[in-house]
């Protein structure tokens, strides 16, 4: 069936771009850039969800697409922008453990993720079978990003990127979770994000910096 084939093509394209964005995030130093990239990621996610909704004709998926747009493309990036301006950390960059190796590790992870995804995509009925591997890869890369970051804000962005990956997995592999769950997840995400926002200020007033290297007091000495 032709249109579905088309859809698959586009969807794969979007998935690939998602992966690309993840790599880009992995290598970015500036918080500012990261936020932009995060917004882009959200946008791609929105697009793909919309596409899946269109092709499968499930109403719920339109809702979740809308949710994505609201939350991940508009709300969160905006709030993040406000935050880093308020905190005045938009320009600060951080020294990562050297990028080439990180990239290589990321590459390995991607291969691993694809390998893992084989059995799943073999049984997936949706038109978007192969994308689960990419979703997994996005999650892994976000994880890697969190590990390599030393700043609170960037770590949170990594966390959100991971959520994106999860969302993508949900939509692409399973036509989305039941609505209630989606809402619950979204709600949790939002609340959690607000809490984080509060934390930033408290942390800064306590440690007068958002550098995680200050937060290493609790340990076995």
């Amino acid at each position: 069936m032709h249109p579905s084939y088309m859809v698959t093509e586009v969807l794969n394209l979007l998935a690939a771009s998602l992966l690309l964005i993840s790599f880009a995030m992995l290598s970015r130093r500036r918080t500012q850039r990261l936020i932009t990239l995060f917004a882009w990621q959200g946008l791609v996610l929105f697009a793909s969800t919309l596409l899946v909704a269109y092709s499968s004709g499930l109403r719920e998926l339109y809702y979740s697409a809308a949710l994505t747009l609201l939350l991940k493309v508009i709300a969160l990036p905006w709030i993040l922008q406000r935050l880093i301006h308020r905190l005045g950390v938009q320009w600060d960059s951080e020294t990562l453990v050297n990028i080439p190796t990180t990239m290589l590790v990321g590459l390995g992870l991607v291969i691993f993720a694809f390998g893992l995804a084989q059995p799943i995509s073999r049984m997936a009925t949706t038109i978007t079978r192969n994308t689960i591997g990419i979703a997994l890869a996005v999650i892994f890369l976000a994880f890697l990003m969190m590990i390599t970051r030393r700043k609170a804000v960037t770590q949170v962005i990594g966390f959100l990127a991971m959520e994106n990956g999860l969302f993508f997995a949900a939509t692409s592999a399973t036509y989305g979770m039941p609505m209630v769950i989606e809402l619950g997840i979204a709600l949790d995400l939002l609340i959690g994000f607000f809490i984080l926002g509060i934390f930033f200020f408290q942390i800064r007033e306590q440690f007068d910096s958002l550098d995680l290297s200050n937060m290493e007091a609790l340990k076995e000495d």
């Binding site: 893992l116 059995p119 799943i120 049984m123 997936a124 009925t125 689960i132 997994l136 999650i139 994880f143 969190m146 609170a152 770590q155 966390f159 991971m162 959520e163 999860l166 997995a169 949900a170 592999a173 399973t174 036509y175 979770m177 039941p178 209630v180 769950i181 619950g184 997840i185 709600l187 949790d188 609340i191 959690g192 809490i195 984080l196 934390f199 408290q202 942390i203 306590q206 440690f207 937060m215 007091a217 609790l218 076995e220």
Partner: protein, 484 residues
């Protein structure tokens, strides 16, 4: 209906407390609500006793032999903790560690947390389970950071990030589960995530996928259980949060997280029909037990010490579930019960102990029996109980676990032996000088509410020499359900 009441009461309470937070009687209100939900749970339990397991609201919620006693336990410990927290928080407020606003936050978040616990236990929907766990994380993060000191913020931040990431893995696991499930159950409605339905068809679920799903779920929920090496948030959170929170973290949250893991294990083991999940649990359990014991050795902070001891015990329970079989499961369920009772009572006494000495450093706490004998003896007996000294119930479960391990996998027993021995030495050598000896500290301004401590210990003692028929039946049924 009762279930809705059980779920609704705490939320209502949270709302009320959030509104009239700074009210003089906030603490009493908190107690009242906890008590009300305890009553509700009692009714629920009675119904289950009369009519057996039940599925309600389009199968969205259910009570079976596995979660019924956990619900009861949760309500009970929640109530006693509320009792304890009243004088405790009063003293904290007097000492200027807290202000009214924070206290309001504390009370309402406490109820939110309770609601999340009940939801996680009662829901039949793996997705809702995930949502509830996340909600529990969020509420406890706020509770841990209550003091807004550097340490508490750091602890809360680590807790948040680690558990957040963990829970994300769990979500992915849930998605995979859904993927495999809808393949069998179809996509219509929300049945594909209902545990009972999944359990019914677990034989047909695609093994490879469930294997992967289990890994993600295990890592996800396991982080909240505090399994080594995913445990790093646990001691910080226990040490830096207010003591009632440490009590409920150890007493309830860990149990519920483990409950989630076990629910998943049942499905996965049924599907892939191998001992793989069991082996994983055994591995994690053994690692946690041994390393937890060695962590204990060098602690200086009393609450940190008992946090690590929770890791050790969760390890033992996980190991027991990993062993599988009716007896090991029975032992594990029993151990869950007695551990949460004992550990929370220990945290009660430890909290008052550190208030009397005005420090959490154990070197600063001395001669409790000579200041307030109840605190001293409570701490002493509690520690002995948690260390597996008969006739306390912890020993009963450890007896069953050790002997089963001896039969099933003899090679594990030396490790368990080392773990228990080291844990005993580590904890007792710290507790003894705190309890015994001289002290010149002044007594507390508010008389500590130690009734809960001794109620808990009495129950634990009873469970050591006599297990009521009903409870035994639940354990048995749950053990069969878990199988393995």
């Amino acid at each position: 209906m009762v279930i809705l009441i059980v779920l609704g009461l705490p939320l209502l309470g949270a709302l009320l407390l959030a509104l009239f937070g700074p009210h003089r009687y906030a603490a009493e209100l908190n107690i009242g609500i906890s008590f009300a939900s305890l009553i509700a749970v009692v009714f629920l339990v009675l119904r289950v006793l009369r009519h057996g397991p039940m599925l309600v609201l389009h199968d969205q919620f259910f009570v079976d032999s596995f979660n019924v006693f956990l619900v009861a336990l949760t309500a009970f410990v929640g109530f006693t903790t509320a009792l304890f927290s009243r004088p405790y928080m009063r003293i904290e407020e007097q000492r200027g560690h807290l202000n009214a606003a924070r206290l309001r936050l504390y009370h309402s978040m406490y109820q939110v947390f309770m609601a999340a616990m009940f939801l996680a236990l009662l829901t039949n929907n793996m997705g809702l389970l995930w949502v509830a766990m996340e909600a529990a994380t969020l509420s406890t993060v706020l509770l841990v950071s209550l003091y807004r000191t550097r340490a508490s913020l750091e602890a809360a931040w680590k807790y948040f990030i680690l558990c957040g990431v963990g829970i994300a893995q769990a979500l992915f696991g849930t998605i995979l589960l859904y993927l495999a499930a809808e393949h069998v159950l179809g996509h219509e409605g929300m049945t594909a995530l209902l545990w009972t339905h999944l359990n019914a068809v677990k034989g047909q679920l695609e093994p490879r996928v469930l294997g992967l799903a289990f890994v993600f779920l295990l890592v996800g929920y396991g982080t909240k259980v505090g399994l080594v090496p995913l445990h790093n948030w646990l001691p910080d959170a226990h040490a830096e949060g207010p003591t009632p929170v440490s009590a409920v973290l150890s007493g309830l949250l860990l149990n519920v997280a483990l409950y989630a893991v076990i629910r998943c294990k049942i499905l996965v083991e049924g599907s892939i029909g191998s001992y793989l999940p069991g082996r994983m649990l055994m591995g994690f359990g053994l690692l946690s037990a041994v390393l937890g014991a060695f962590f204990l050795w060098r602690q200086r902070d009393i609450k940190r010490l008992f946090g690590y001891s929770s890791i050790e015990h969760m390890g033992i329970i996980t190991f027991a579930f990993g062993l599988g079989g009716p007896i090991a499961n029975f032992a594990a369920l029993l151990h869950m019960t007695v551990h949460s009772l004992t550990k929370s009572s220990i945290f009660f006494t430890a909290g008052h102990a550190s208030q009397t000495a005005d420090t959490q450093q154990m070197d600063g706490i001395r001669g409790l029996v000579s200041i307030s004998p109840t605190v001293g003896w409570g701490l002493m007996l509690g520690s002995l109980a948690i260390l597996g000294m008969p006739p306390f119930g912890v020993f009963a479960s450890e007896f069953l676990i050790l002997t089963t391990a001896m039969r099933e996998h003899p090679w594990t027993t030396p490790f368990l032996l080392i773990a228990l021995g080291v844990a005993f030495a580590a904890i007792f050598r710290k507790v003894q000088p705190m309890v015994f000896g001289e002290s010149d500290a002044p007594p507390l301004p508010h008389s500590p509410a130690l009734v809960p401590v001794f109620i808990h210990l009495a129950i634990v003692l009873m469970l050591g020499v006599y297990i009521p028929f009903v409870l035994a039946e639940w354990y048995r049924a749950a053990a069969l359900l878990i199988g393995g």
